[in-house]
Subunit: 280 residues, 2 copies
Amino acid sequence: VTTAAIQGVRGSFSHAAAIDASDEDVEVVECRTFEDLFDAVAAGRADRGVVPVENSLAGAVQRNMDLLLEHDLHVVAEAQVRVRLCLAARPGTALEGVERVASHPVALEQCRAFFRAKPGLEPVAAFDTAGSIKELMTGESLYDAAIGSSLAASLYGASVLATDLEDDPGNYTRFLIVAGEPGSEAVAGAKTSLVFSVRHEPGSLHAALGVLAAYGVDLTRLESRPIPGRPWEYRFYADIRGATAGRQRAALEALGGVVEEVRVLGRYQERVRAGVTAGT
Amino acid sequence: VTTAAIQGVRGSFSHAAAIDASDEDVEVVECRTFEDLFDAVAAGRADRGVVPVENSLAGAVQRNMDLLLEHDLHVVAEAQVRVRLCLAARPGTALEGVERVASHPVALEQCRAFFRAKPGLEPVAAFDTAGSIKELMTGESLYDAAIGSSLAASLYGASVLATDLEDDPGNYTRFLIVAGEPGSEAVAGAKTSLVFSVRHEPGSLHAALGVLAAYGVDLTRLESRPIPGRPWEYRFYADIRGATAGRQRAALEALGGVVEEVRVLGRYQERVRAGVTAGT
């Protein structure tokens, strides 16, 4: 058994990712916020933390990129979950009786066609997908239905009134799994996540990417984030793969010579398959 | 008088940006969603649309980057607004009597120190800052106070119980102003916003940035967004400045030869000063 900290409650897509990323049985440690999640892993209250970093439709989970930098944890694995959204309600509720539908704003935004087809339904912002289903089932909620995974619906005993609400079936969330210690060298390799900032001068980003290109490593993702206190300056999160682990290390050493600062967040095995589908 | 479409209601930071970006008096056209805003400008119901694209702390307003690409509008100006957040309540309410505080999740997240210092306050997610203040003043709200601009507080007759709630005074939002037609050549220049995608092969982004560097234009922003239907492939939003307008055009023509596709969103004058401070 391994313990995995997730933000939110059981039944979330993070829960599904925790299962996907582990060869062992997973015991979930529920955290209210992502800050709490990072703290739980840092303090050893969980073996690993499950951090959603990007969705194939919505893009980067921006705040979590910042948290990776603010903490000294190590990325040891990645996971992907296909986001399938269903409409959950209390048993006995008919679809016609539903008026207010709660979920996280991002999930609501990903069900536009569903809401267009049912103009009588009012979307209600909540902090959480699985949490909105859980709250619905406690009977204190201010809404009649909630959108989340069918895993959450089944865990909390809700009825599923409609499935596959998401506009686009190509809806995947990618997670980075963090731990207090780096992954073992035997497991590590293949892929590296890093953060770097460049000098505030023309051509500096081009020069940085030139180093990676020269070493034959492939940039699979480049994401900019603002630097607090320096409006309109940015740092870059990059995922690289290809060449050998040694070659990647050499590339990162060379990168250090042309950028302002660089930090390796972790090395891990690339997850090429599309991962599990939550709740199916 | 010019008409400017904004998402949300009067008193929002978009409203402040509309005032900042215009030499004329501004009449606001309130839109429920950003989609509605783009439609209002495309249909001529407003002269211009005010689109927040990035915040110096929270980063890109991701969905709006996508909308710029999905519509055929032209960026004709930029604006910046310093985000100063205040706690608004119904007249007669004391700070001690406040239990639930509503605002947009991003605004709530930017007031962490305030909520830490007052653990009795419960944050409540809303779709809007100014809208949460407006709703509070109609008396139907499920909260006692709301966080937004002092402009909104004064427009809706709310009392301001606390000011400068934002954690970081370096909190600016940058807006792009869109219109149905490009800006006049006399006004245009200085800065260009564009979107490009690169071939899915190693070194392709580096090659694209190399063209810009070779022409001596400066990249002030590079933001990646997922390409729908192609999980883990991205397009890039770039803002460039420097050199001459003619040189920028030549650079973009050359860029077309090395990328998969490129589209100019608009040319406009750079706004170097920090812009207005909403509501002060």
